[in-house]
Symmetry: C2
Subunit: 491 residues, 2 copies
């Protein structure tokens, strides 16, 4: 059974003094109003972590009660930072089953009332426990992925910096037209450069902010002007070190493969997309994973203006997570609200796209391991599906696999990537160097060393020495003997 | 599209040193083995609060990764303490939609590693914030419901005690045959009486224990011997004081109405049931809400042996939450595993029922506000549905409604129910008397007074005086003037 979208709603994203359930109710009432409904058959709520952010539980009932709709079934859905998209897909199945006619999806998060240190700790709980023990945070892992990407595609540090800054500058520009965005201020390259390093090479302006907000949508079996034409969801290993590749997200590719197949469209049919830019490198990688550009070419497309508001394939016309803000549970649904507004020509001056008949949203859960892809189109879109239609999206699927860490007293390997983390979680020294090492004897491990404080001290692709200290793998550029020799010389 | 059940799996419930994901993987592998599958199209995980119990997040990926099945979509579902049933229903829709063929549901919780005080605090987060501020816990609210039930149906304290004890004794007897149960020890009335009061009149043996465990099931579009014939889910107000009635759960009735209608069966067709007995009074109320017995008559049926293992309508043949244990996220699915075992004749000696062609499970989320009812039947069951079939389940649906608390400096009302709580959360005096007062000017409020320490001091239906102290409503049996007079006399 086909599923359509009627009403959509959203709060302004940013800092709010309202409690979570009020934000979610505000968005929900907007969606119900848009749908011309007072009741629905079921509610799906998406919140990533109300337990620790707010200290409440049972959000399904808290919301339905706040809406004065007690009685209606209400179920909470969570897929880490893609939760909004996860709740949407769950709601999709309930309507597609024929058991529900109108279903409300409401996604939100309340985060700004806590300290950044506490929020960082809570957000870090999506990370593999072993990697967390090193002090790895989401920005740190994203930074290591960016470094590896630059190395693989032979981008110099300034070239990487240019690309990342342009993602931020473009999305802040787009967001300046979005009345629902947290930041409506455009930024320049100079301002970008002045923002502090969070985890080298990522600056504050490379990271989506901490945000309160909610989005909502009514899904319906009744045909409307917007149809859900493709959905896909896939996972990857929890630990980044268990991935088959660090420079693309296999879970995006597998999810996209399902969504494109179901919608019977190719990447070239997509006219615009919302791509999960919690960190600027993720937008570049996302546009490659989705088949818009070949691997390593996402940065060129951006530089050439292809992904700009007036480009051939606008990416994040809303301003993205970067400028709209990132209430983790809400973002996946907020992306879809933007797609609906664009398809309906309701995005407003400045950001309304001329060609908006079919759009795609990609949402990343955790550190790229719980990703969803959704394709929405206008019901009146002229279809190009002909007999003999062929899916031309053939991504290189490379599945990771959970593995035990090698048992190691000391060893030798190659430094695959690294970062210098300047805002580690409580209890860790700052700055803190973290890296991944490919061991000579096989396997990839996470490593750390608080003594490397400058990126110039480290080089990807170089041999490093690894030893175990207090249960953690510590890496050194030089062997124990060479360090001993130097130490003796220095005496 | 019809949905069937193939494999089921379960861990032994109890205290475990295994991490949550290992417990869930163990149950999942059992279900996959039973289904003869190595892979599925999607996984739904049910965990109520991994965030605070375990300090992790992103359980969907943690589980899929532990199973070595990275790639497969994995979504976490939560409906408070009915989470296992909530995940099951969500999975049902995904298969019923025709988009999925085989789906794995895995539900679990890890709780025993924390102190009881901490666990109580975490479990209390499902309670309305205002009621929590009084120190209300789940046992305290359940106790107040039991007291009101006894008052409404004119049960003396010994009569109530007899009924509640018999629920516990019956379920411990049933559980003695269940190798997966946490407690396999039968208990006597004397042992029941020796167990300490948790919240008057509820004793330790009236409350389900704190438990680790997981259950799993594969749902499939391929016809098997067990069919999902009815599902229903409904909510009620978060606050107990906003309910239309305190002696039945409207959310059970609305959920049951949907499940019976969908399955086209009447309560009299059900041959056995698993009923959410987190607190013994809930089993009595559950059997009435489900239409098995008239309101107020559940205790009689129990006393007459109707709900015993060899009775006409066995309730909780597994031993229920009471004896099997209550890992909050898992219980709703563990109930359904028991139903499948019974339908397949696999429940084992002692507890296998003779008549087991159709069974029902009722799961309560929160304090009776997020409830689900599921009906499973053997595919070869002889149907009695004839043209002109009529649903004879017509419960009295009485919806609650969120309301603002009356603004009150002091007032007069009737004590509707009360409890003396002996294990309040940290920061509250013990014992602590809590109650609900129906105000003369309208509205129901929660009240407290740490000075009433004995149930004999209080009487339901009597006039009480209420005043505000430190933002809480405190109640007194006597007015300010009468207390002043006595105080003056005493000087």
């Amino acid at each position: 059974m086909d599923v359509f979208i009627s009403g959509v709603g959203m709060t302004k994203f940013g800092k709010s003094t309202e409690p979570l359930e009020s934000l979610m109710a505000e968005a929900a009432l907007g969606a119900l109003r848009g749908a011309g409904l007072e009741k629905v058959d079921a509610i799906y709520t998406g919140v990533m972590n109300i337990e620790e952010f707010v200290g409440d539980s049972n959000i399904g009932v808290l919301l339905v009660d706040t809406l004065g709709l007690s009685g209606i079934p209400s179920t909470r859905v969570e897929t880490a930072s893609s939760t909004g998209a996860g709740a949407f897909q769950t709601a999709f199945y309930s309507v597609a089953s024929g058991h529900m006619k109108n279903v409300l999806v409401v996604a939100g998060e309340k985060m700004t009332h806590l300290t950044t240190a506490k929020t960082t700790r809570i957000l870090s709980e999506v990370i593999d426990r072993s990697e967390r023990r090193y002090g790895a945070t989401m920005p740190a892992l994203a930074a290591m992925i960016a470094q590896k990407y630059a190395w693989q595609y032979r981008l110099s540090s300034p070239a990487l910096e240019e690309i990342l800054s342009q993602v931020a500058i473009k999305n802040h520009f787009n967001g300046s037209f979005n009345p629902f965005a947290q930041f409506r201020k455009r930024i320049s390259f100079e301002e970008y450069l002045r923002s502090p390093i969070v985890s080298y090479p990522l600056r504050l302006y490379d990271c989506a902010p901490i945000t309160d907000g909610a989005a909502a949508m009514v899904l319906t079996a009744e045909p409307t002007d917007v149809k859900i034409s493709g959905i896909g969801h896939a996972t990857d290993t929890l630990a980044v070190r268990h991935r088959a590749t660090l420079t693309s997200f296999n879970s995006t590719k597998e999810a996209a493969l399902r969504a494109y197949s179901m919608a019977q469209v190719n990447p070239s049919d997509i006219q615009f997309a919302e791509v999960h830019d919690a960190f600027t490198p993720f937008e570049i990688i996302g546009t490659e994973d989705l088949g818009f550009f070949p691997p390593g070419k996402g940065g060129n497309a951006l530089r050439d203006g292809v992904t700009g508001l007036r480009g051939k394939l606008p990416i994040n016309p809303s301003g993205g997570l970067k400028s709209r803000g990132h209430p983790v549970g809400a973002s996946g649904l907020a992306q879809l609200v933007e797609i609906v507004w664009q398809l309906r020509g309701e995005a407003g001056e400045g950001r309304q796209l001329k060609k908006a008949e079919i759009g795609l949203a990609q949402s990343i859960g955790g550190l790229g391991n719980n990703n969803l892809v959704t394709i929405l189109e206008r019901r009146d879109r002229r279809k190009t599906v002909v007999p003999g239609w062929e899916l031309r999206y053939r991504p290189e699927i490379r599945s990771g696999k959970k593995a035990s860490d090698p048992s190691l007293e000391e060893g030798v390997g190659i430094l695959e990537t690294f970062t210098i983390l300047h805002s580690p979680p409580e209890g860790f020294r700052s700055p803190l160097s973290l890296g991944f090492v490919k061991l000579k004897k096989g396997g990839r491990i996470m490593v750390c060393n608080p003594e490397y404080r400058l990126p110039e001290q480290l080089k990807i692709g170089k041999k490093v020495y690894v030893f175990t200290r207090e249960g953690l793998y510590v890496f050194e550029r030089r062997s124990f003997w060479s360090r001993l020799k130097q130490w003796l010389k220095g005496r």
